[in-house]
């Protein structure tokens, strides 16, 4: 199965690339391992994507983006990509079931929540350790929980949880939030949110489930125990670059090194959305990348003929 362009990942960047590529007359396949939308699909209210009177549901927007790309002629295969041979000609995309060939490849794998890296973290996932307050918050109704992190995601999580939980600690390694100032007043007004500054989560305490966290004061090194039933980790995101490491250049921060033209270090390979080094990771910037990458892929494919 050979396509002009294969797009790895079906988030807003991937489906915008598919839309533009298909409209440019290229055969385009999106390989998506779950369903359209990526991180966007689990966001209930999107208020910063232009063109909508009311906040838009990320899941619905994802369906619309996919429908639009399909209407233009792009296809989707729900398969998990297990390997990429990007320097080959044609480029090879291996999934668990098939091998696809492509003239050009657009990397749109996005990002996923960063983990703390503690040994018990995976084992306690689903038993007190979670990465998604809007997903799991209701499970901790009336309980004492902590959010780890100081950015917008952490602040949003804490606000969601403050409405559900008895008490919410915000554990942050600095003495002030990195989040937009707009979050501060509602957090202070919530009444059940307590900041734990200059601290990092050094350990997880548990029996069958999480019972608390071991905090370390980053200045003094002093440790103490904080009893919580839930730990919501919101310490940023990590680009999904495992498939391309050693094939395309990455930045020191671990993102794919590609500029606004989305070109990577390999000809015919483009990177869009959260996986790419860029100043602002938003749906609208991912979509913009997709349009540019499709144009670049079109030029590349035309040049091969």
């Amino acid at each position: 199965m050979e396509y002009d362009v294969i797009i790895v990942g079906g988030g807003p960047g991937g489906y915008t690339a598919a839309l533009y590529a298909a409209r440019a007359g290229l055969s385009a396949l999106v390989l998506e391992m779950l369903g359209p939308g990526g991180q966007m699909a689990t966001t209930n209210n999107i208020e910063n994507y232009p063109g909508f009177d009311e906040p838009v549901d990320g899941f619905d927007l994802a369906q619309k983006m996919q429908n639009g790309a399909h209407r233009a002629g792009a296809r989707t295969a729900y398969e998990e990509v297990t390997g990429l041979e990007l320097a080959a000609s044609p480029k090879l995309v291996h999934t668990r079931k098939n091998t696809y060939r492509a003239k050009a490849v657009i990397l749109a794998m996005g990002a996923s929540p960063r983990q703390l890296g503690l040994p018990e973290e995976d084992a306690l996932r689903g038993r007190g350790v979670t990465y998604c307050a809007t997903c799991d918050g209701m499970m901790y109704r009336g309980k004492v929980v902590a959010v780890n992190g100081g950015g917008n995601s952490a602040a949003e999580d804490a606000l969601v949880l403050a409405k559900i939980c008895e008490k919410v600690y915000i554990i942050h390694r600095r003495d002030t939030l990195r989040a937009d100032r707009a979050y501060l007043a509602p957090l202070e007004k919530a009444g059940n949110v307590e900041f734990v500054w200059n601290s990092r989560v050094a350990g997880l305490e548990y029996g069958d489930k999480l019972t608390g966290v071991t905090l370390e004061d980053v200045k003094t090194g002093q440790r103490r125990s904080l009893p919580v039933e839930g730990l919501f980790i919101a310490i940023g995101r990590k680009p999904e670059t495992a498939l391309v490491e050693g094939q395309v250049a990455l930045t020191p921060g671990g993102y794919v090194d590609a500029g606004e033209d989305t070109r990577t270090s390999l000809p015919g390979v483009f990177a869009v959305g959260d996986i790419r080094e860029k100043p602002l990771r938003q749906i609208v910037t991912a979509a913009a990348d997709g349009a540019v990458a499709a144009k670049m892929a079109q030029e590349y494919v035309a040049g091969m003929a």
């Binding site: 689990t42 966001t43 398969e79 668990r96 689903g126 997903c135």
Partner: protein, 105 residues
């Protein structure tokens, strides 16, 4: 085969006493990742499976969620003759679900 919704009233009949193995999805309408998973299960069901698929809305059946220790959703369990192994929490892909199911046998 259509996906069946189960709660306390029919869980025993549909899952525990089922002659066929059962893939149970604990979910809730407010859970974003559960919504992402729903079309995946629909696709698997439409393609045909050797097991039936049952969904349990934890809001409607908190006792079931409690009994099976579900505190993160989506959580998948594979039941054979009323017994189940470890849950699969928030799987990342359809392939991951199918491989997990294969390993349950």
């Amino acid at each position: 085969m259509a996906i069946i919704q189960a709660d306390n009233n029919n869980f025993k009949a549909e899952v525990l006493d089922s002659a066929q193995p059962v893939l149970v999805d604990f979910w809730a309408p407010w859970c974003g990742y559960c919504r992402r998973l729903a079309p995946v299960l629909d696709r698997m069901d439409a393609a045909g499976t050797a097991y039936k698929i049952v969904k349990v809305n934890v809001d409607d059946a908190p006792a079931l969620a409690e009994r099976y220790g579900v505190d993160t959703i989506p959580a998948l369990f594979y039941f054979r003759e009323g017994r189940h192994g470890d849950a699969l929490i928030a799987p990342g892909s359809q392939d991951a679900i199918e491989e997990w199911v294969a390993a349950q046998r």
